[in-house]
Symmetry: C2
Subunit: 653 residues, 2 copies
């Protein structure tokens, strides 16, 4: 029924023209639509910089984007897939929050099991606060296979398979109250790193904050990733007990610093707030010290200690290396860093660690060689209250550079430059790493949190594009009520001066961080590889229904319906049961045409499935309410889509 056509062709004169004013005229004032670009630009009050930005970002129909950005969706609980340079939202990936378009958590038995495995404190969880996506890496470069993301609110980590952009696993962390320093991966994705944020009691289930220093603890967890299985192997996951400072962002070492991880902390004051009792609130109490600590952790050695069960305890079933063991084995060291740090970012060559403190206008650059030497030579200035050695700041710092007020997070390009988000001044500062100097600043709008550069967390960043993830948009977009979108601003970083290209409102969720991968590294399925494929196992389903095998069977009070979906009917078109029956619908979309997705929604039974070409799903429910309930295809699939329907008839007992 569908006609594949693309009548669009590149005008020969453009492809062939040389550089020069004639070509410019041809390009800009040519015959397209009878209009001329200059007149349109004037009519629309566009500057020449605007026209250039438009032409740098516009993607005509059918044009693929060069990069794909995987952004967290913040407390939407989801992830966002955005094309660059067009800044178009290609997909929302449902992760922690049920989403019916994807049939995620609104029917399939597999999702019920996933959500059941992801409960915490005996509560069903239907949201998450997704923060930091991490693409899987091979040898320090994104490999396009998986993306991971943490839930800050309910300390969890999810695994998304980039073959079908679907969530496959959610792992809970029983020993954290909330996380923040995750997810970050080691350079070959051996481990997915999750660091805590607000400390909670570790070795006891309950303690008031009167016992904060004795009972509350920080934590970092290393989730072992099994790449072949595409799953975290919790049996090989381990944690390290840390002082009850609040951990913040993290980054894994690479190259010479591979085997180590660098985790910022704040609230080394161990303030416990309580404004209602006349105490300084957390914002003041946690901002008193001039220095907090960068935690420098030898995860490679820690993994050996954990594997050997040396000085390890179980907390709520999880293997935890105790703080004493961490000290004894030399796993954790503290490096002083400027007050209330946020970003911790390892340079592409793995030789430096860049830290920026939101209450200090500098970036602080540490030398990995110097840190390693200081550790080997025990250049410690003392120990923290928990006995962790504190490395001499002056022995390991490479330099500090004033970049602006409220520097948060740093990314890198392919020319030895770094870019730091400046929250209070709403700017991005471009600076040179060696020797340290500020090169350029650009305004952003407004209150930038993270920034993300093309392949910016890898050993080989691409430069070219940087996205400023601004928290406030204020006056940038049409008023859509008191809850405003965020603003992703695309910046061209290919030249000496940064150039603002595009404002993308994010009117769904509040993204915290993103990674940007070259699009040609991704190789997703166009359709599932065979008819009867189960996305939960990424294999043929045992109960796949092939055409001709459709049937309904009854065994006691259980009715099994083996159904197929094809344009434009279900088979069978009736599910006739008695009130109280358990109904199990096994349904296969037997199409192999790209985009020939069918939905399966049942009226008033709160069930909707999304069946992509080849996909099999199973949904089990109790026919508890008698009556007549239409079911129908919820995805507009064909001219006779509205006729793709049937009835669930639940006969009263």
């Amino acid at each position: 029924m569908l006609h594949h056509r693309n009548r669009r062709t590149i005008r020969p004169f453009l492809a062939a023209a040389g550089v020069g004013s004639l070509a410019l005229l041809a390009a800009c004032g040519g015959s397209g639509g009878g209009a001329d670009v200059g007149a349109i630009a004037r009519e629309r009050n566009l500057t020449d910089a605007d026209v250039i930005a438009a032409v740098k970002t516009y993607q005509p129909t059918g044009r693929m984007d060069e990069y794909i950005m995987l952004a967290s969706g913040g407390h939407s609980g989801q992830m966002l897939v955005v094309g660059i340079p067009s800044m178009r939202l290609l997909k929302v990936i449902a992760v922690f929050t049920p989403e019916p378009w994807q049939g995620y958590g609104t029917g399939p038995d597999g999702h019920k099991e996933l959500f059941a495995s992801a409960r915490m404190a005996d509560h069903d969880l239907t949201w998450g606060d997704s923060h930091h996506p991490a693409l899987s890496e091979t040898d320090g470069d994104y490999d396009g296979q998986f993306v991971f993301i943490n839930d800050k609110a309910n300390p969890r980590v999810a695994v998304v398979d980039l073959r079908d952009f679907e969530t496959k696993q959610i792992v809970t962390n029983p020993n954290m109250g909330a996380n923040h320093g995750g997810t970050f991966v080691t350079p070959n994705t051996d481990y997915i790193i999750e660091a805590a944020q607000y400390a909670v009691p570790l070795w006891t289930d309950y303690a008031d904050t009167d016992d904060y220093q004795a009972q509350y603890r920080g934590l970092v967890t290393f989730h072992k990733f099994d790449r072949d299985a595409g799953r975290i192997n919790e049996a090989e996951t381990f944690s390290i007990e840390l002082p009850p400072y609040w951990q913040d962002l993290s980054d894994a070492g690479k190259g010479p610093s591979d085997g180590w991880v660098f985790i910022n902390t704040f609230n080394t004051e161990m303030a416990t707030g309580g404004i209602e009792a006349g105490n300084p609130p957390f914002e003041a109490g946690a901002s008193q010290n001039d220095r907090d600590y960068l935690q420098v952790i030898n995860w490679e050695k820690a993994a050996q200690v954990a594997a050997a069960n040396r000085g390890v305890r179980r907390a709520r079933g999880q293997k935890v290396i105790t703080l004493q063991t961490a000290i004894d084995e030399g796993l954790v060291f503290l490096v002083p860093e400027p007050k209330s740090p946020h970003g911790s970012d390892v340079t592409p060559d793995g030789r430096k660690i860049v830290v920026s403190g939101k209450l200090d206008p500098h970036v602080t650059v540490y030398s990995w060689d110097k840190i390693r030497n200081a550790i080997e030579n025990e250049q410690f200035t003392g120990r923290d209250p928990y006995g962790l050695p504190i490395i001499d700041f002056d022995a390991v710092v490479d330099g500090q550079l004033e970049v602006g007020l409220g520097p948060l997070h740093t990314q890198f390009d392919n020319k030895g430059n770094a870019y730091t988000s400046i929250f209070l001044e709403s700017q991005v500062t471009k600076w040179q790493i060696e020797p340290l100097q500020v090169l350029d600043k650009i305004d952003v709008h407004y209150n930038v949190g993270h920034i993300a550069a093309a392949e910016g967390d890898t050993r080989s960043p691409d430069g070219k594009y940087l996205v400023s993830m601004n928290k406030w948009s204020i006056d940038r977009f049409n008023n859509v009520g008191p809850l405003l979108p965020q603003n992703f601003q695309l910046i061209d970083i290919s030249g000496d001066k940064m150039q603002l290209l595009y404002d993308m409102p994010i009117g769904f969720g509040e993204p915290h961080y993103a990674q940007i991968i070259k699009a040609d590294k991704l190789h997703p399925f166009e359709v599932y590889p065979e008819i009867g494929y189960d996305p939960e196992t990424m294999d043929t389903a045992a109960d796949a229904v092939q055409p001709g095998q459709e049937r309904t069977t009854r065994s006691g009070n259980t009715v099994n319906v083996y159904m197929t979906a094809v344009r434009s009917h279900f088979n069978p078109e009736y599910i006739r049961v008695r009130q109280g029956d358990k109904v199990v619908v096994h349904i296969t979309n037997v199409e192999q045409t790209r985009d020939a997705t069918h939905g399966f929604g049942i009226s008033k039974y709160n069930i909707n499935l999304s069946l992509e070409p080849g996909e099999t799903e199973t949904v089990t429910f109790t026919a508890d309410e008698p009556g007549v309930y239409p079911f129908y295809c919820t995805e507009f699939c064909s001219a006779l889509h509205l006729e793709m329907a049937g009835y669930l008839l639940v006969k009263p007992r």
Copy 2:
């Protein structure tokens, strides 16, 4: 802390330049960023038409869009707010599906009541299949006050207030199995129209389809809207019993046809499918007749009949005008229309009704004058099996025009032209209404369902823009797995020939329909009008907490926490309770700065609120699980946002 700045200025040479080649050069090859447009266009393989499209759609930072599109989100259950011409997603409005970024259904007691009121068949419903948004109208023009939308899967209608773009009410329809022909409003928004789709038993709770013709019924419901209250007044809502044909799209009359509504039907065959029993499936059985019926309904008279309780019965509590009464009172008439129709669209002047049948290549245009005359003169050719009079097709048809294969839905411009989506050929056809002739066709990509034109459903369409809402995107965007985005294509309809301007992937939900309103008609709140405002009542909350009034009180096992949120702390910072306590948190965001939204998320208790400036919410929960649970601000609000936190301490019993 935030610096409002906009250093962007229009280059004087552009504003001042006259039309001519020099201006073109200046506009295109000027000094902006040292680049030239022609070179960039060639490097990016852009045609001159592409460059023009780029310049017509690009919005530099801070530039407002001219139109706002309210689109359904299909089975995401939400609505989408899109700016035109930039085609940027400004917001997702949570309607039928909980959404934590907006704190919708993830905490506030008011939302719990909303969802409780929206249950059906004794099931919690956490999704909907949102189809057709309808903007409120005054005198046949969008007034920018409200937008309504239906849930096809669970026959419901929702009310969204455009002061804050939030859902205020969801009304269930107990007498439908699923709806489709909704929502559409009468020209002054007296009624919100909802027509059924798949017929179900009306006067009995259960009947098998053996009794289809006797027991199953179609239905149209007129929900009375109380504009002052901003709510549907169900006490004044009424329905009309209809034959068990499947109703489809509808449109209310306007101008001379005001007081009437025109509802398409298909499956006038009353086929009941059953492919598994050797019957033709619905797609075949429901497509046998050459003609189906347009239902022409006098809603103004029906409202009087319902108000007078003449020939009215109650079905599941709802006032229903019986089919016999509809016949006796002359409320419903049938007009034959081409096989399996979809769109029913009244021209802006209210004088014609355009119907297109997806299995017929024509649009059929009826004259309202002729229909009214035929009704007055009883020019009937007979009656349907239920006794409804059938109007003589030839007496009322104005003309038919071949527009392409699979015409679905028609919109209008300000020059007397109509635009019809052509599903099977993936085109939009532009045609002239008087005299009937095809003017232009444009390819779209692919499988267009609805189309939406600027102010296209009003008495005064604007022309200028049309959006083609394509169901399949196939090869238009980067591969993001087997579930593909839809594709909204923006088309310039200001000239003689339609021009494709932009492809917008919709990677969230499957929008069915949209309406496009001039942006300057919308006047949403920038912040809530006072501190302590309750969005559920749109009034000051009785339990609003003003600064200085923060406190915690206990009464028996109930703990009331009166909390404020401000950059960058909560007050109080501790909620100390005993296991089993009922906890009621009354929380007010005391800010009045635009965009100063705070979130309130509690770890592991599945609670997240979004508190826009001035907003008050109340959340009640049982502290059933002992332990230590951080709570924190989930919306990045300030440099010390991470410190905006506290603890819920649940002491074990």
